[in-house]
């Protein structure tokens, strides 16, 4: 490494206080300054921060937006999500053709790299890609051609944005072609919001009263798991600790979910206000908004909102002029890891570590960020808080269904005429959702993303709520021509790529599930494969360490339940003069040998 680069790395470390817990910022900055975090850079970082090289490597090697090998000046990351792949095969071909490289390669001039990335939260405007931090949407062969031409002329991806998306996407700090596609506005999230009003109401109450209000409203976590928010805040407030923290989980990675992207764009004030109220309620002085790397284009905008609120006295040393109420917020960037949406993995990442989930207990409420009591909530959950304080918990609790109060944002994509964001009351049936989004003949709906469930038409009358069809927002609609088993296999691939690998059942089990499902898709299924998949899926579900692992076999388990016929059709006993197991392909096993030897098998000619 050149001396210039060495001093660049050192400067970056100094800028972040040589603080190991800010490792994410350090390695992200090195990546963006030098195009990669090379072996030498890792040594330099370790030296500057007084840590070990392998600890730096453990972080760098974990996140998919970081790498040890140099990438092109312009990195094009094509969304590998199921919805994008449904519409996007021409896009891939177009990029490969225009750039003259294959997926995973870099052009010889070092200008472009082309790679896959997991769902970037643009399913309603698929196919989409990230070009460095810039999102490009509604891709087509022509558009790809234009994009590459423009980038060759000027490699600044910002210049690609000719027409802005709606709302704040046109804000100069967002500067994006992304569309919000808000199709339905409900009373809570997209209701009238008056800046600072709910916060002042909260500050006029005691913290305990604020928590009571949230409890009375029966607000539950909007990320999908549905833990009662008030209870979480209560635990955090009650826990022993010198500091307390509020963490906002904006690591929206569940494929098919893009509500946080829209909330950050359109409801950032409401979100920050919700976090501030939470800070007051639990007695935290600091909040961290963990923003997924895919939404880096929103960072400057969100930080500007934070800065303005600080300037206006809504954050900072004495919030709203109330002495002793201190709360401020920083944005922590992620670096490409779905698992960091798991709250303890998110904490690990905030601490500058690889995104392995932590052992529970202790729970974050008692020992979270840096060992301090921490409340981690979803973006949408925080956004529900100001309206609850503004209009009262009773107003909130009258909406929705029993056990699932209020409204829910659904992000709908796939085979429907109006993909986008819908704010609905909890308790709406899936059938009504489908009617609303313009899907007449859905064959299957994936509710809750890959970790949720694949629902068939016989269950379309089930309700969207925590007790029936739970979802963090993702609703993916699949029409009659789609192959649900192929979709399940793609979901499994997602979990294989995005799992942390900490525990055995998830790390190995998903590879094995995928192997068998691929075999079935290749026409080599055996009748026994269904029981095999079921049993294996249950081991992964029961044995895995965190929520991601426990839900990762769902693509198989829920399709086995809802689309058994599809499996049965493909898992027929083999008819052959051979006695081979269906998974054994003698022709494939001999292919290499025949080509090397230049002769054909006599015994197994065909």
């Amino acid at each position: 490494m050149s001396n210039t680069n060495k001093s660049t790395v050192k400067q970056i470390c100094v800028r972040h206080g040589k603080d190991r817990t800010r490792m994410m910022d350090i390695v992200r900055d090195v990546q963006s300054a030098l195009g990669c975090v090379s072996s030498e850079a890792m040594d330099a970082i370790a030296q500057a921060c007084g840590t070990h090289r392998v600890e730096v490597e453990s972080v760098v090697s974990f996140y998919s937006f970081l790498g040890t090998k140099p990438k092109g000046k312009v990195v094009i990351r094509l969304c590998h999500g199921v919805i994008d792949r449904m519409h996007g095969s021409e896009t891939v071909a177009a990029f490969e053709k225009e750039l003259g490289i294959r997926m995973g390669e870099t052009t010889p001039d070092g200008l472009f790299s082309l790679e896959w990335t997991a769902c970037i939260g643009m399913c309603d405007q698929a196919p989409a890609a990230l070009i460095n931090d810039q999102a490009v949407t509604y891709l087509s062969t022509d558009k790809v051609k234009r994009i590459v031409e423009m980038l060759r002329a000027d490699p600044d991806p910002k210049r690609l944005v000719r027409t802005y998306g709606d709302g704040n996407n046109a804000h100069e700090l967002v500067h994006s072609m992304v569309h919000n596609n808000i199709r339905r506005r409900g009373a809570v999230i997209f209701g009238a919001y008056e800046r600072g009003s709910a916060l002042r109401k909260a500050l006029a109450m005691t913290p305990q009263e604020v928590i009571r209000a949230v409890k009375t409203a029966s607000l539950r976590g909007r990320g999908g798991a549905g833990f009662p928010t008030g209870m979480k805040w209560d635990f955090t407030r009650a826990a022993q600790g010198e500091q307390r923290y509020v963490l906002c989980n904006a690591d929206e990675g569940e494929p098919g979910t893009f509500k946080d992207r829209v909330l950050l764009t359109e409801c950032a004030e409401q979100l920050i206000e919700g976090m501030t109220i939470a800070g007051y309620a639990i007695g935290a002085a600091e909040g961290i908004l963990y923003l997924r790397a895919e939404y880096a284009y929103l960072k400057a905008f969100v930080e500007a909102v934070v800065a303005q609120r600080r300037k206006d006295g809504l954050l900072g040393a004495s919030v709203c002029g109330k002495a002793g109420v201190i709360f401020d917020i920083r944005v922590q960037m992620g670096a490409g890891a779905y698992v960091c949406g798991e709250e303890t993995a998110l904490i690990s990442s905030c601490e500058g570590l690889r995104g392995d989930p932590k052992t529970r207990p202790p729970f974050p409420a008692s020992k979270g960020y840096l060992g301090c009591p921490t409340a981690v909530n979803n973006v949408e959950t925080f956004c529900c808080v100001p309206p609850i304080l503004e209009h009262g918990p009773g107003w909130f609790a009258q909406m929705g269904s029993s056990g699932s109060k209020g409204t829910k944002l659904l992000t709908v994509s796939g085979d429907c005429s109006m993909p986008g964001v819908y704010e609905v009351d909890f308790g709406i049936t899936l059938r009504d959702v489908l009617k609303m989004v313009g899907s007449e003949n859905a064959k299957a709906v994936q509710v809750g993303g890959p970790s949720g469930q694949m629902v068939g038409p016989e269950k379309f009358d089930r309700k969207v709520c925590y007790d029936h069809l739970a979802t963090g927002g993702s609703v993916m609609v699949f029409g009659p021509e789609r192959d649900v088993l192929a979709i399940a296999a793609q979901f499994l691939e997602f979990f294989m790529d995005e799992g942390c690998g900490y525990c055995t059942p998830c790390r190995v089990g998903n590879v094995l599930l995928k192997e068998r499902l691929d075999r079935i898709l290749a026409g080599q299924g055996a009748p026994t494969d269904m029981a095999y998949l079921q049993e294996l899926g249950e081991v992964v579900k029961m044995g895995s360490r965190c929520g991601l692992g426990q839900t990762s076999p769902n693509p198989v388990l829920t399709t086995l339940a809802s689309f058994r016929g599809e499996y049965e059709r493909r898992c027929q006993p083999a008819h052959s003069r051979h006695v081979f197991l269906p998974g054994f392909d003698i022709r494939k096993a001999l292919a290499d040998s025949e080509s090397i030897a230049g002769r054909h098998s006599v015994v197994y000619s065909e």
């Binding site: 054994f584 003698i586 494939k588 001999l590 040998s593 025949e594 030897a597 015994v603």
Partner: protein
């Protein structure tokens, strides 16, 4: 009534498992009272003479010939038993599974440090069975009824299993007899 038949074969194995069969020693007489040996290297019968009750297979499938023999065993035997780690997991021959076939052959016949092969020929006589892309455990190729691990499974393991099977008694192998080495 004639005695049931038993057949044995060594595929990609070292014949160590067959040595272990012979290690039954004088108890082979007890076995011989219960069964008649059919196709087996032990008696040098090359072809199946009829249906067999039990087939014992040593070694994994490294070549098309191994696959063919295994297939014949599956077709002719009521009960197929895998003998030893090679049959069960590929064993030492499967150490090539991490390397592409072409590289394996080149290392073995051209590039290996101890290779003397002035003609630089990789054997390719039409009589030679073709190698498979990797070594397959037998239970990934055909249906297998029982597995006796070990390298080799001990004579006691083999004897007790055979006797239990032939006399219709339940098999309860003691802890010491299930070993992978």
């Amino acid at each position: 009534m004639s005695k049931p038949k038993i057949a044995t074969a060594s595929l990609a194995g070292c014949f160590g498992c067959h040595m272990s069969i012979l290690d039954i020693d004088e108890r082979i007489l007890q076995v011989a009272e219960l069964v008649q040996f059919d196709k087996s290297p032990v008696d040098d019968i090359k072809k199946f003479t009829g249906r067999c009750l039990v087939g014992l297979v040593e070694g994994g499938c490294a070549t098309e010939e191994n696959v063919h023999v295994l297939e014949e065993f599956r077709k002719h035997c009521d009960i197929l038993i895998l003998l030893g780690d090679c049959a069960t997991m590929g064993g030492i021959p499967a150490m090539r599974n991490m390397v592409p076939l072409k590289e394996c052959l080149e290392e073995a016949y051209l590039n290996g440090p101890t290779v003397y092969n002035p003609g630089r020929v990789i054997p390719n006589d039409p009589e030679l069975p073709l190698n498979l892309d990797r070594v397959y455990p037998c239970h990934e190729v055909v249906k297998i009824d029982y597995v006796l691990p070990g390298c080799p499974p001990s004579a006691d393991t083999i004897f007790q299993t055979l006797v239990a099977l032939l006399t219709g008694k339940p098999l309860d192998l003691p802890y010491e007899l299930i070993k992978y080495d």
